[in-house]
Amino acid sequence: MIPLPSGLFLRAHRSLLLLTLGALTSLLSFMLPVHAQAPQPVDIRIGLITRQLPPPTVFEFDPVPEDVGLAGGRLAVRDNNTTGQFTGHRYSLEEETLEEGQDAVAAARSLVARGAGFLVVNLPADELLSIADALKGENVVLFNVRAPDDRLRGADCRSNVFHMAPSHAMLTDALAQFLAFKQWRRLFLIVGPQRGDKLYAEAMRRAARKFGLVIAADKPWEFGPLARAKADSPTTAEALVFTRGVDYDIAVVADEAGDFGDYVPFRTADARPVAGTQGLIATTWHPTFEVWGAAQAQSRFQRAADRLMRPLDYQVWMAVRAVGEAVTRNKATDPGEMKKFMSGAGFALPAYKGVSLSFRPWDQQLRQPLLIVQPRFMVSVAPEAGFLHQRTPLDTLGFDQPETACRLQ
């Protein structure tokens, strides 16, 4: 019944032969599901909660694809299952897309009731926290793939949440390292009106102090979403004179919604580059990123989703792959067990960044290199050379152990 590879086994000692045959049988049975006594593969159910994007109110030059994030999760489940066929695990991704007004906590509870032990949460900080608190004590692990808020890694950290998305502190530290490396030290910080913009700006001020940069000017943006004004007459006088009379090396925009950041480049009074949330940015993924095997992930994603991979796709991909990697290495599937394993020293996630990624035990943030990119090309990778740390250079990005406000319980 079982094809006997010639020669190799026959030379073995009888007991070894039986042992090997046993291993072979169980292995083959995973590969041939029709086998009569085939043990069922172990199921690992992963839930993915996302909220339907409201249509943009004004002109959107580069609309966010409807399947953003989801496509990354789908690819990762396929990757996990390719490995799972050899290890006897079967992964599934249950997608829950919330409509306007639909309760995120109820959706999370329903996914758990249907057997999901892992929830990938693509929601803002407040909703993530409600889910984390509602599921406290349950045998479920959450992955934050979206919210960059530093408080989630600080005072508002939760022991059932792992962060795949980089924090504001990591994003701004990465950028600040690059600016320090370039000796572009005097920043003109331009801060948008939204809450996230203020948080990003605060993180940028902190990063500037950390890496010896100077905030040469710090002004709020008060001219509205000019970057979305399709037929804007290019003579908005206030915006054009806004940058006059400031002595700085580079403008840093804090505009998470993309309302004005792209309006600033080439409209500054002096010839100055622009960075921050637009222009030169720190991010987890970019279409021109192809080293460390990233080219393979890019083409695999493009074939599956028929579009380019976005940072959110990559962050969801990492979350689902983290589950797969933990299951394969730890050989356990219980979420509680896996949580312990993932926050320990034995966990390492390869994710096309040249080094293995791991979670910081003090706040469960994924430590990861970040890409410094302009819209059409990759420029650098942080941590920049020369920024050293006693543990790993990756810990020069974001909140380090001695400064964390997180108390995991």
């Binding site: 590879p5 010639s6 490995t83 083409s299 250079p393």
Partner: protein, 329 residues
């Protein structure tokens, strides 16, 4: 990177030292280097240690190997989804073979046929009859298959999958996977010892080399590398070559810009040889007097004297050298 600048300077200084010992003694062998970014093969003469010819091939040439008689050079043209066959006497592509999508690395059966090809984008190993240009079968393996090793008797093929992190043992008679060995992250190369008793698998991101007993399919030893003053993340083992006498192993360490010399009997790392930047693949000349390393970032190959364990020269080749193989004539 400040360190790299220093390393580069040292490598250049080494390259400048006069090289006497080997030239003249050994017969001249052609060394073929695939240049991933400019779609060429550089031919280096092992005697003169200079580039004597540059040949055009398909796009993104990576894996490279020779027919047993040295007449045909097989080149994975990854972006053209084919394997080019180059006539080594003329340097012309004479045929293109059906490799399946995105071929990256391959290994030839010890008898010269078939060719086993890792299709990186397709989670597949393609088995190709090189004479008939006929795909015999496709074997589904883990995510991002790359490394390909074959036992000296040709019965067991080992493929490594970079994202599944396994060495898959494939029976070449039945094309069935008979074992999967979980190794450290991003396994790149599988290399059997000449007697077939030991299998070495390098893990680029894990930073280790797993030594596997092919009979029991168990990891018997993990080799780690430590270079003073270098962060562990920079040590990324890729290429592995073993001398036929089973005494020495050479491991290319990627961005550490070094080739480790390992005692293949005790598995102790004995020495680190400074080479060019981002060293990936290695190949011996047929007499095993020289070892050549491809240095992708510095666009050169380092020539290593195997006996003296010393880098004797750097030779500038094309853009982003990837694979290397040396011919018998």
């Amino acid at each position: 990177m400040a360190w790299n600048r220093v390393g580069r300077r040292m490598a250049l200084a080494l390259a400048g030292t006069v090289w006497l010992a080997v030239s003249g003694e050994a017969g001249a062998y052609p060394i073929y280097v695939s240049n991933e970014k400019d779609n060429t093969i550089s031919v280096v003469d092992s005697d003169k240690l200079t580039v004597v010819a540059t040949w055009k091939v398909g796009r993104r040439p990576r894996g490279i190997t020779l027919s047993t008689d040295g007449k045909w050079l097989y080149v994975c043209a990854s972006d053209d989804n084919r394997v080019d066959v180059v006539d080594t006497t003329t340097g012309m592509v004479v045929r293109s073979l059906r490799s399946g999508p995105d071929p990256e690395l391959f290994v030839l059966h010890p008898k010269g046929n078939p060719l086993y090809i890792a299709n990186e984008n397709d989670n597949m190993v393609t088995v190709l009859d090189v004479e008939k240009n006929l795909v015999l079968t496709e074997v589904p393996v883990g995510v991002e298959p790359e490394g390909m090793g074959i036992s000296p008797d040709g019965t067991i093929l080992v493929n490594t999958s970079e994202t599944t992190n396994m060495a898959h043992f494939i029976d070449t008679a039945t094309y069935k996977i008979v074992a999967n060995v979980l190794v450290d992250a991003r396994p790149r190369i599988a290399e059997f010892s000449a007697d077939g008793k030991v299998l070495w698998v390098s893990s680029e991101v894990g930073g280790t080399v797993s030594v596997i007993d092919p009979a029991s399919r168990q990891i018997t030893r993990k080799i780690e590398f430590k270079i003073p003053g270098m962060v562990p993340e920079a040590i990324q083992p890729v290429g592995v070559r073993l001398t036929k006498d089973g005494k020495k192993a050479f491991v290319a360490l990627g961005p550490a810009n070094r080739v480790a010399v390992v005692n293949a009997e005790t598995f102790e790392v004995e020495k680190y040889l400074l080479v060019g930047q981002r060293v990936w693949q290695l190949a011996f000349t047929p007499d095993e007097k020289l070892l050549i390393s491809t240095n992708g970032v510095s666009n050169d190959v380092s020539i290593i004297d195997v006996e003296a364990e010393r880098v004797v020269k750097s030779v500038r080749v094309g853009a982003m050298p990837w694979g290397v193989v040396a011919g018998p004539n």
